[in-house]
Subunit: 99 residues, 2 copies
């Protein structure tokens, strides 16, 4: 099934706890019940296999670019970013692509 | 279905062409016929929606960590990295996580 995928990774500020990361993960997962445009949503913490890895990842699937834009700009999503992600983020890597 | 996911993004050296990126994508996709441990494999170029995005992404799914390690260290994969990716890579962001 063709679609549109958003992938984002984060590194957190020094001192960020696993609990804080799990809070971010939980808040993000709640968005799947709020934003019906989300077709698939996967959140994870780095498994610790390779040195130099990012710490946190989101892979979100949509039917198309327009549905992704609804998610990107949705107030519930922006609230999670503003309240839980921005305060602890150190580095961000993102991409969107047609699947 | 639970599993193990590897996600990697690249930024390429200045002057890298779309053709070179498509060559990397094609060579990577061939790995799905060579490494049976690959359960799912998605390769894409940035859709150009947001400024500052990475340029190229791979999302690879495996049954578990051990299968990912087979892929990571497989000679056919290392050959694609050495011949097609390393010569043009500028920046790399990666993570592995349990799905």
């Amino acid at each position: 099934m063709s679609g549109f995928r958003h992938v984002v990774m984060f590194r957190w500020a020094e001192g960020t706890t696993i609990g804080q990361q799990e809070e971010v993960a939980a808040r993000l997962r709640e968005l799947t019940g709020v934003i019906p445009e989300i077709r698939g949503y996967s959140v994870g913490l780095d498994a610790g296999v390779n040195p130099g890895s990012y710490e946190f990842v989101v892979v979100a699937d949509f039917a198309g670019k327009d549905d992704y834009l609804v998610y990107r700009d949705h107030p519930a999503h922006r609230a999670v970013i503003d309240e839980f992600i921005t305060p602890i983020v150190a580095e961000r890597a993102a991409i969107q692509y047609e699947t």
